[in-house]
Symmetry: C2
Subunit: 346 residues, 2 copies
């Protein structure tokens, strides 16, 4: 089959690779129909992840149709449409039962040393714990499929930022970052009842999209000036701040924009981010919470809202490329010509 393979910075190729097959009794084999390029794939593309070696597969956001299952699989069967979170998990351990599937001791992440999601097919281990069935009613409804696809990562991650930041009805949230996660953070904060959602970003088109998705205010300043603008808008800072970038300046802005006693929810892999507990948190009682998103815990409730027409993250997918041209998706995102690329196969 065909799959995207990382060969080095700015060098993603689609190549022939061995077909995946059922290897363990709890595996499922899934024919991928839709996938995405993630912001974290871009770090790899840019050569910022030293552990990512040439020859590794790539892509961890995917949806498809089950082709075959191992003898122990109970919850999905061939022909079912399924969506996967970006991490697999057994669904039965203490962490999975608590909704923290990313800490499942038997779990792991797609791509890297394993199969990637930017491919024609994938072997899914721990299928019962990992895959979520998409109801048959969506068959052929491409708009609806495109609204469900972001639940595999980016929409769930925006939701995790909002949950981690403690967004509640009637509160004010501030979203730092106008990328795909930040835009989904806007949707998530509104969905959880935030009355006011302030977005800090620098790209006019994305900020305009943020407004369409529910942002009430935008701040285009940077650093301390951005935090000061949020403080001015809110009379002292936002109670919940969603750090949706994963870089030192964004974390600093997020903490500074947070109201004393409030919480920063962070969800982007924090590249080299250090927090000074004394200077940044202590005197103001600002909390920091978040991490890798347990998307598996969130997909069912978010999918219910998508199916009911109450949630639509599809606007973040502003470029569609066929699998063979996935490199074009990376290049467009790298050049900030696209927010997020959707990859279609077949």
């Amino acid at each position: 089959m065909r799959a995207a393979v990382f060969h080095g910075p700015a060098d993603i190729r689609v190549e022939d690779v061995p077909d995946p097959r059922i290897e363990r009794p709890d595996d499922a084999l899934v024919r991928i129909t839709h996938a995405c390029v993630c912001g974290s794939d871009l770090w790899i593309y840019r050569g910022a992840e030293a552990w990512y070696r040439p020859g590794m597969r790539i892509g961890h956001e995917w949806m498809g149709v089950v082709e075959a299952v191992g003898p122990e699989v109970r919850t999905v069967r061939p022909g079912d449409r399924v969506i996967a979170p970006f991490a697999f998990s057994d669904g039965t351990c203490g962490f999975c039962r608590e909704g923290l599937h990313t800490s499942c001791p038997r779990g792991g992440y797609w791509a890297g040393a394993g199969d990637g999601g930017q491919a024609e097919a994938i072997r899914c281990p721990l299928a019962d714990g990992t895959l979520v069935r998409v109801p048959d009613l969506v068959a052929g409804d491409e708009a609806l499929l495109r609204a469900i696809l972001p639940l595999s990562d980016v929409m769930s991650t925006g939701h995790h930022a909002a949950v981690s930041a403690g967004v509640r009805p009637g509160t004010t949230a501030c979203v730092v970052g106008d990328g795909a996660v930040g835009l989904c953070g806007v949707l998530a904060a509104r969905r959880l009842g935030a009355e006011r959602v302030i977005v800090v970003g620098h790209h006019q088109e994305r900020l305009a999209l943020a407004r369409r998705l529910g942002a009430t205010d935008v701040v285009t300043a940077r650093g301390d000036a951005a935090a000061a603008a949020v403080a001015e808008l809110t009379g002292g800072g936002a109670r919940s701040v969603l750090e949706c970038v994963g870089a030192q300046p964004a974390m600093e802005t997020a903490i500074a924009a947070c109201r004393d006693g409030g919480t920063v929810g962070f969800v982007g892999w924090p590249h080299g981010v250090r927090i000074d507990a004394g200077a940044q948190l202590y005197g103001r009682n600002v909390g920091v919470r978040g991490g890798v998103c347990p998307a598996r815990a969130y997909i069912p409730e978010l999918m219910a809202d998508v199916l009911a027409g109450r949630l639509d993250p599809s606007p973040v997918l502003d470029l569609v490329v066929p699998l063979e041209e996935v490199a074009r998706g990376y290049a467009a995102m790298d050049a900030r010509e696209a927010v997020k690329a959707m990859v279609v196969t077949g």
Copy 2:
């Protein structure tokens, strides 16, 4: 009057200073009867606080009897016994109403550039917002007064650690540090319903006291070995960890001892503490929350429990010195011969 004055590392002297007086209409003048030496005073004593200049007064934990009040003071009057939190605040701003009195824009801290609490008397600004009346029934009951005194800081701070770490009935808490704050953290965690309280410390006598105060397990290993021991005892780490030291190794142990998805509550002034958001928090979704304790918010509920006989932090006060000999209290704490010194005047 007589008051403790900082003259340099290991040099605290009790000297004649000008008598305090009512300066503003919302001031109260309080004759101090009991005070404490705080672990944070020890950092000053050791010369670790560069901003603390010779000639500055010291002491921020105190209790006494009101001698006079300004014309605007409504809630206390001469003759009332009162206890003060270690920060003053107006009691009316948004932060005070939310219970975050340490963020009151009109508030501030005792000692340093202002009056100190290791003294015969003190001027208390914002008296209505700051002082808490101690019921008359305690008059002359030295044991009860000694149980109330720690609410000014150390017991409230231990409680703040437990609240920040999210201790709830039935959970497991881990307290890092066997100093006075850690011991109060044990009391606080039990009071909030923790079924199991594991203390990480290194001093046999203090650990024995921790057990008397409610600790169920003690860990004497350090660093990674301490975290491994907590993980072993709990099957993966404690859901709530109270970091009661304020130093880099303690924070590292606290985060490592925390269960994935759990929370570290930190309350010691974090001297040079840096948190690596990627390596320490992200993959495990460990949250960090806490800071300077809004003691004013907690004193009423904690005092009610002391008066009802449900809470007694007085065992942390294991040395009593008269004001004139306060330097002996510092020396004993510095040498770890005392957990915490109580200072009596008059």
